[in-house]
């Protein structure tokens, strides 16, 4: 399968890339890892007339803690996250998630920024970012702006990244105190989209009270979903078995999965409940 014809540019600065985006409008697409975009172009679901390859722009790939945030450059590849020491020590949720994203070859190219900017509720990082309370930095010719993750996903394949803009950085409030996070998705086979996936984050004070909690759900709603009622029941609680049970129950009630080849609605709600419980327990054990 071969994509429709297009023109190709590989700018070496962000300013050049933004100028090209401005010039070509919605006919242009940014090429990051390309492992979602190129398959769509081969299937002719997408036919941009201009591809702007941002792989040759230095400085967009990093994982670092700075100013109270974990900062991840948009062009950081999944494999670089998987192999980062900071991630291994403090943000194990990314180890859980990246291992389940596609396969090693795809993770050599797929980027975190691309995964989010693609705007697919079936992708795994959106739920992770919801659980961790991420902010997304978007750069345009007028400068940079920051959008909270809850305002980032607008619809199927549409996000807060407007025409002429590029997603440049992901910022996550840094782990502090007793902090733990975990992700799992049920998938039929390696590389499949989630039948259902759950991301969980908790922070616990020295008395064992939950001070922060985040729950994000993958592929069980038209948009990546924050399980708000679940978070509310967790925050301020002692994270007892019955609280976890209630949080998982709320998550399974508040999502809206649709029946497809991966299972019916009832089955998916059941998965959400079971995985929420397991991921909360895993996050709690990592926090201690």
């Amino acid at each position: 399968m071969i994509p429709e014809s297009f023109a190709y540019s590989a700018p070496t600065t962000l300013d050049e890339a933004l100028a090209l985006l401005q010039e070509h409008g919605d006919e242009a697409k940014i090429l990051a890892g390309g492992h979602s975009l190129i398959p769509m172009m081969k299937l002719r679901f997408a036919s941009p007339t201009h591809l702007i390859d941002i792989n040759n722009i230095p400085g967009l790939s990093y994982v670092k803690e700075e100013d109270g945030y974990l900062k991840i450059g948009a062009m950081t590849k999944e494999v670089e996250v998987e192999e980062s020491d900071i991630i291994h020590n403090k943000y194990q949720i990314f180890i859980d998630a990246t291992k389940l994203i596609a396969d090693p070859q795809v993770r050599n190219f797929g980027t975190l920024g691309g995964n989010l900017a693609h705007g697919d509720a079936a992708n795994d990082h959106p739920a992770v970012m919801i659980a961790l309370g991420a902010e997304i930095e978007i750069t345009g010719q007028e400068g940079k702006r920051t959008v909270g993750i809850d305002d980032f996903f607008h619809g199927f394949y549409t996000t807060a990244v407007d025409e002429g803009e590029v997603l440049t950085e992901i910022r996550i409030p840094a782990a502090s105190g007793n902090y733990g996070s975990a992700y799992h998705k049920a998938e039929r086979k390696v590389g499949d989209y989630a039948t259902a996936g759950v991301a969980a984050m908790v922070q616990i004070d020295d008395q064992g009270r939950c001070t922060r909690a985040g729950i994000g759900l993958t592929n069980v709603s038209p948009l990546p979903l924050r399980a708000k009622r679940s978070e509310e029941v967790l925050i301020g609680s002692d994270l007892s078995e019955s609280v976890i049970e209630q949080a998982a129950q709320y998550a399974s009630e508040d999502c809206s999965p649709s029946e497809d080849l991966r299972g019916n609605e009832e089955y998916k709600r059941h998965l959400v409940k079971v995985i929420t419980k397991r991921m909360l327990k895993k996050a709690i054990s990592r926090a201690k």
Partner: protein
């Protein structure tokens, strides 16, 4: 509009005029006439088209030829030398790790990066490591054995038995 690109494949420079939409696997197979890299699913699922770009395993059906301009590419044709087979080829041969052979070039190129990053992988790490490569003949056990054998060989350790295992 075509673009002039140079791919350094197995140490040899290939300069070619390509349309931006040409996939890397087609440039390798058709323009450079190296047909050891296979096209299986053409949807980045099966891994038959796996090559190395600057040492990183890549599915060449999902990368544009223009993206690989100036990069070092390794394909199965570059594995054997005048001295003999590459250890991974020897491992696949001795451990009966192929039947039809269609997945083998991609499987071996993937195994090379896996062993490069993790010279002594566990069986589980090998199975996760080749998760992006499908084989419809072997049931994978002999492929896993071949990679374990190659790991031992490359580290100068005692070689595991290559007797067929019945599981």
């Amino acid at each position: 509009m075509t673009k002039k690109i140079t791919l350094k494949i197995n140490g040899t420079e290939h300069t070619m005029e390509v349309e931006p939409r040409m996939l890397l696997v087609h440039a390798i197979r058709e323009n450079a006439s190296l047909t050891g890299t296979h096209i299986g699913c053409d949807t980045s699922s099966c891994g038959a088209c796996t090559i190395l770009i600057d040492g990183k395993s890549a599915k060449s059906c999902t990368i544009l030829a223009v993206q690989a301009d100036g990069k070092e590419i390794a394909t199965v044709e570059g594995l054997a030398t005048a001295e003999g087979l590459h250890p991974i080829q020897e491992g696949f041969h001795l451990n009966h790790a192929l039947h039809c052979g269609f997945c083998t070039p991609g499987m071996m190129m993937r195994a090379i990066e896996l062993l490069d990053k993790n010279p002594n992988p566990t069986e589980e790490e090998i199975r996760w490591g080749i998760a992006g490569n499908l084989c419809r003949c072997t049931g994978y056990n002999n492929i896993v054995s071949a990679i374990q054998w190659t790991s031992a060989k490359m580290q100068g350790k005692e070689l595991p038995s290559t007797e067929p295992k019945f599981v």
